[in-house]
Symmetry: D2
């Protein structure tokens, strides 16, 4: 197996997840941490980049170098920060595409000075080309704050022809994440979307990715509560324990929490439609409530509390409660790394379009079918089978 | 598909699980409850008995008819009790084999008046033969209170020849559950063991079952905490979230709780050896603690509290807490019913010896291999595959 | 001590709390329950009515007799329902004052056919006079669904003169609860408000109560989460454990839950202003969040989950989590009974206006001071001292 | 108010609580932490030492300087450790009195080379005298690991005369904590016992303290679960919510946890007798279970899980669950500091013998009465009243 460096260009590099990815790989290179939390660490697949052969670049609306960003996010322990500080200080995010229409809570000023979509795309392409020269292969991963967008019913998103026209017309309907996706795909660089933003999940860009022969994957990293939900729900179904209600509440205090608290209404709409729970169970849970609250004492630590009301034999009621005291970036960063490694592998294997075998990493898996597999264990097996192929 | 009645002869019929089985089938026959909690209700397999074609008989150290037993166990709602009362009143357990050496907390007096193992077996066989005349096929299910027994190292248990000799010699090492297993197997009646008692899980009786062409399955029904454990642990492994410690505590206040509080030391030994958690994870969890406490305010309601300490990316620590407010008999009874239906199906299909495809129902699955599959989702798939065959 | 019957006229008699009060007193009379949950059961005070000397009447927008109401609310066990059924069937709520402007989720049709405030008051007075003839003394307790109302800044509420004028002018600003309060006070009948509705908590009616020499008390019964909050917060202050955040979430599925889900925005405003937590702690908790969600699987059972982030020595962080699986009406009904008994006692003692010694029963205690005592143990001691006087 | 330095001589100085006390005071002196967690920080009492005027000395079976000890205990954050390191390094525990008979899990070798009790006492006295020269006043606080001891029925403990004789005879019944207590009292130095060890809580030493005019206090610091228990139980009583059962389980992984896991049987005996819960409630809770498990993943972090089964109105059942994720030393250290300050104040005020007003700090308050006050809020008020006197 020949060594190959993989360059991950991150949209939102200075965020908590982005800096954690960079710091983690840096500490792995130094040998000061192990591979806990990296799901594919035990698997050796020909052509898949080693963790220690990964390098990072990326865009962010805040221009701080990553050491300053990491200090703000407070995810690393003090010792880890000291060990990674020098390397983090050396990385400064490139100016990013921002649009207040889609993201009103985030006020960064490190912006591409472009005035049209085409100009923005050109600048992103230029960044990618520049970065690409330094590595053997490249992947773009979107970690930027969630954009508010109701994509359905927008004609411009339904075909690449219509989308290109909307770009030409500088349509206000197109958010930054789509520009990044378009730029990456046009450069034949795989694009992974770890956020709930629509990004490449429109017919136009899926069509474009297939035409360009580029693998894409998304969306919305399955890290905490939804991960657990997709683990437990299949077992309740297998045991015929009827879910009468599922109440989920979350508290978190990082920048993502602030952004989410603003897109709440959309988030619930998305949720209702996606119906991960109903798809797994095979029936509709009428009392399925998901709350997300911005609660500062927790910073990047996220706490999820689930209450599941179930009915068993004789129609009798029981309750299952799950309380997950997790760390958002600690769960997310290794998944984003694995997505990048897998997309790179897919590109080498000549696969294109939606990479459905990566569904295990996503809350809202992009899929060719109307009902993508949502049960965690089946998603996980699908991925491992693909890797072993 | 021709209708066929399945007779389930229950060892410990008057216990909480036994009476709940009987009441549940009775209420299903009346149409006053649905099939919630019955894992195989949605599956139609040729040759498998319908729930409404099941009838019950069985042994118990307490002679109360089942209406009195049900009133004591307090599992049924008042309305359910009233609806099932007449049918329950009509069933009176047969005298049972008891041995204070193996079960000191339970003081029932409804005992077989036999003085030797061979005599006890003869009486059990007689009961089975009598019951069998009333139905199309028969299965024996052990639900009796857990026996204290350290089976390993006992030479008499290693071959059917040695075991027969020990029976002849009326060896004090042989507990009642083995006599029931022996009697059933000798009659070519499938034997399922829902308790942690060793029963048929010795080389001698496995050999005997194969020789007689009888399917057997066990042991220890996987109802609450261990069910959840075998669901969550595989997902933690898939996500490479290292389990640093798993602390499980249980409170329950029924007759089983009282019995268990007395076999605690054995229980922990069994647990250590069986190592469900370590088998699933692929490494040893040094801080794996399981406490069971007899706590009367809960009666048959069981509460499990699990605390899982996990390490993720960057070696950072997180906690997953699971609190299951469940009902012991409500979870157990439908599984015991399904085990009986499956064993009956296996017998019709001509299968014999350990029915490993029933592992999903057991905490300590009997297996031909040293490391039986313990991950819930793989056990469940194995069963469904077998059923669909 | 001479026997005296106390008549409690309940606004919202057919609700879950109202029917539970009636059923509870009925079962106490029959001797089939004990006095668990009745805080003053162990205290004997001269002049305070015995539980078994209480009789009920009251108004409700639903005309069902109380047996039908109790069946719907499903608070009683089946056995308790059967035991109380006949007595409950004998009580039918009087037609009630309803106003969709203040309460849009509740659609009852058992309404007073009045067209003006003065007419409504006259009918309520008539009901009170009729009821009063059957008992030695009378108290009115408001248990009706919470009204949406922003009372502050309304000139009509600031003096009894202005309020009388607004009544004369049939002002649309005056909600039903105020009409009940006015009617009771005008009849010199003590008025207790167990709901968050403003009712008598305006300068006009406080002035009126003092002028009439009538004791009044309110508002918002302190049953579950707030009870616990007012118990724990003083202890955290005593230990100098700094509360960085307090996240409270609630799920409940009864009629009150439905009503509350509609007044959510108001509820939070009220909460912010009342600042029970800040008053107890002596500083402002910026991250104090209270969520209430209507979640049907629970019916009248209410679950509260509190997460308290505290900082201790060395500025280190800890968490205290409280999970209260309670029953709304089971907690509320005995408090409403005690409030009625205490108001009746206060009337006999010649006390008038706000009865601040009853603060222990309320989330938002009516008070003569700007900062009423909120710490549970001090409120409780104040009540017991008054009783012992 | 004149400045006065208070010297605290700690038995078990190198333990987690001891090092946390020292580090905390050091960081307060540097101004790098606030007074969170110090219950009396807001109260100014004439004669009570300022936190910043406290200095430390003490004994330990391990000779490591406190920086090494702090590193092992891992209580301080990395930043706090760095800030306090130099000061901690300068403090080295004096050789301690050890006796394997009473404490088998702890293997330190930094031992006083004495062969008799009288010799040990002489050496302790010498240490106290030496330390005393450097400060204005001195207090001894016992923080050493819990000793196994059944004090009741031992005649030598019943009077100072008998105790002196047992010392002379070098009785094997006398554990180290009593020698420290005796030495301190003989030197007229106040003695506070923060551990469950019996120490000064025998008639002999109480008599001695009164004779010498020395204030003493103990025993067993009320930090986590018991603190919460003594806060919630009085409120349940006030609301007449009957406690049917109280199940408490604890996990902790520090040196104290290891020691406790060995004295478990004694601990439960002590608990049963002390009956804090029953004393507060006024009746016996038959199902009161307290488990303590040594669970290494938590180190010094302690987690308590309480489940309280309560019965309310109509005899209906509810549950209150409390989950305290606390830090043992972070809760304990400030209480130990306050105990020292209060004992010093008591000495100045000329008080002697048991200082019952310090009960708020103890699980098993030493008391002149058979039933000491156990309700937290009343204990707290008693202390504040004494302070304000």
């Amino acid at each position: 197996m020949t060594k190959r460096t993989l360059g991950i260009a991150v949209v939102g590099l200075g965020g908590a997840v982005g800096t954690t990815m960079v710091a983690g790989i840096e500490l792995l290179k130094k040998g000061s941490i192990g591979t806990d939390g990296l799901p594919l660490a035990q698997i050796s697949v020909d052509g898949m980049a080693e963790y220690t052969d990964i390098v990072f670049g990326g865009w962010d609306l805040f221009s701080d170098h990553l050491a300053a960003a990491a200090e703000e996010h407070d995810v690393l322990t003090h010792k880890q920060f000291v060990a990674a500080e020098e390397s983090l200080r050396a990385i400064k995010p490139w100016p990013a595409a921002g649009n207040d229409r889609f993201l009103s809570n985030i006020a960064g000023t490190n912006r591409l000075g472009s005035t049209t979509h085409r100009e923005t795309i050109a600048k992103i392409v230029e960044d990618i080309r520049h970065f690409r020269k330094t590595v053997d292969s490249t992947v773009v991963i979107n970690l930027a704050s969630t954009e508010k967008l109701q994509a359905e019913g927008n004609e411009s998103f339904n075909s690449i022809v219509a989308f290109e026209r909307a770009l030409d017309e500088n349509s206000p309907e197109i958010p930054p994440a789509m520009l990044y996706a378009y730029a990456a795909i046009s450069e034949k660089v795989p694009f992974g979307n770890f956020t709930p933003s629509v990004a490449a999940d429109i017919p136009a860009l899926i069509e474009f990715a297939e035409k360009q022969g580029v693998p894409i994957a998304g969306k919305d990293g399955k890290t905490g509560q939804t991960f657990i939900k997709s683990v437990i729900a299949p077992a309740l179904r297998a045991r015929a324990l009827k879910v009468e209600g599922w109440f989920s509440t979350n508290i978190l205090g990082n920048r993502d929490g602030l952004a989410l608290s603003n897109v709440d209404s959309l988030a619930s709409k998305v949720k209702t439609k996606s119906s991960l729970l109903d798809d797994i169970l095979g029936y509709e849970v009428e009392d399925h409530i998901v709350d997300i609250r911005y609660y500062r004492p927790r910073k990047d630590n996220k706490e999820a509390w689930d209450n599941i009301d179930i009915t068993g034999f004789l129609g009798q009621h029981m309750q299952l409660k799950v309380n997950f005291l997790c760390k958002d970036s600690i769960l997310a960063a290794p998944l984003a790394i694995e997505i990048a490694r897998c997309l790179d592998l897919a590109a080498q294997r000549g696969e294109k379009g939606i990479q459905e075998q990566l569904s295990v990493f996503f809350k809202l898996p992009m899929s060719r079918s109307a009902k993508p597999e949502q049960a965690f264990h089946r998603q996980d097996e699908a991925l491992r089978e693909w890797l072993g192929r």
